[in-house]
Symmetry: C2
Subunit: 230 residues, 2 copies
């Protein structure tokens, strides 16, 4: 049995009273995995979610570059798979047992009935989904921003190669260059160019006046342009 104080710490079971919790636990099935056995693979349809009763689970994920990356380890009382089951998306990770492990599992359909019976469970599930959603949206926004910055960096480096002039401050782009020009060269807007150049100026990558841009740190800019961390 999972100690009940661990279950009560579960965000999913927040504000669920003792009797309801007991009922919910009775609807779980128990599953034991040998050391090294896989519970599910990445992109398998998410049919159930689990809480570790005893043992250790490893969650891993194929990176976009095709490397198997360990996402995290889970121990007694920790849950996984909830968002996938509730959102009806495939498991975004694979799960295998690091040692012999016992799990409590709830089928999606069973859990939907439990949520109708104990609506607080549905609200808790919603909170957990919301947290995941916020992280996903933040990541998406980050990547989208990076892509625009990459284009601006590339435009500036191209100009520096064509007409860069060494100065004590760095490589000066030796022409009248407005932010509007940079925007047109990088396929973005004046607004984004201004925001990005200000940010880079603060970071010390460039110095820019109204119609001149000097690249103080070409190496940094090249890194943004190349985007190797993708």
């Amino acid at each position: 049995m999972v100690p009940s104080h661990l279950l009560k710490q579960q965000p999913l079971f927040r504000q669920i009273d003792e009797r309801a919790l007991e009922d919910i636990l009775q609807h779980a099935h128990t599953r034991t995995l040998e050391k090294g056995a896989f519970l599910f693979y990445q992109d398998d349809p998410a049919t159930a979610f689990y809480i570790v009763e005893r043992g250790r689970i490893r969650l891993s994920q194929l990176s976009p570059e095709g490397q198997q990356v360990i996402v995290r380890f889970l121990t007694e009382g920790e849950a996984f798979g909830i968002v996938a089951v509730l959102s009806n998306i495939p498991y975004p990770v694979a799960a295998d047992a690091v040692e012999e492990t016992t799990l409590l599992g709830w089928e999606g359909e069973t859990f939907r009935h439990l949520m109708l019976k104990y609506p607080q469970l549905a609200l808790n599930g919603m909170q957990i989904m919301a947290q995941y959603m916020r992280e996903t949206i933040a990541r998406l926004r980050e990547i989208t921003t990076e892509r625009v910055e990459q284009r601006i960096a590339r435009a500036l480096l191209r100009l520096a190669r064509q007409m860069g002039k060494k100065t004590p401050d760095g490589i000066l782009i030796d022409m009248t260059l407005t932010r509007k020009d940079v925007a047109e060269m990088s396929g973005t807007t004046l607004y984004t160019v201004s925001r990005t150049l200000s940010k880079w100026q603060e970071a010390g990558f460039i110095q820019s006046s109204r119609e001149q841009i000097c690249i103080c740190n070409p190496h940094q800019l090249a890194q943004i342009a190349e985007d190797w961390e993708a």
Copy 2:
């Protein structure tokens, strides 16, 4: 009043019976907007969601490039803002009235109470969040894949510039070039390179044999490398 057949078509009110629906409607507040008035702006905290009772709402969004883009128009019986309220994220869009418009609105806190009272409402809300989550994850995956492809395209074009040889089929990269080489040049794995090159070969962008790559459509590849659509 919103005709009840329109309310019943609302995914949020699926399987909610007549009496419950009436109660839920009584917890809404009514709000009237003059033509051109804004209900909320993008990135405002999401305090309430709405259903159009009469009139037209325009949802718009600032693109990553800073352009104001119309996302969609909403008419009688259509809802908006639900995901933001339930996920506790800022409104991802701005909403203004195209003509004089009356809305039914529910505050987040009021709606949480209604979901505890009518758990089917919570399950419906979860479904709507799940749909949005799936779209967001798909978009994220798409962008991540594009980034890796961009690097591979850039590596090939670099080689073509250095040692390209015109042939009837296109520009042949005139050296022994394994997929492993391409992987190392573009900072990705053999697996991703193989998958990407196969895709491009099918699309007719390249022809590749075990140790040779010929670029049949340099223009297409340059577009992937430059990524103007970001």
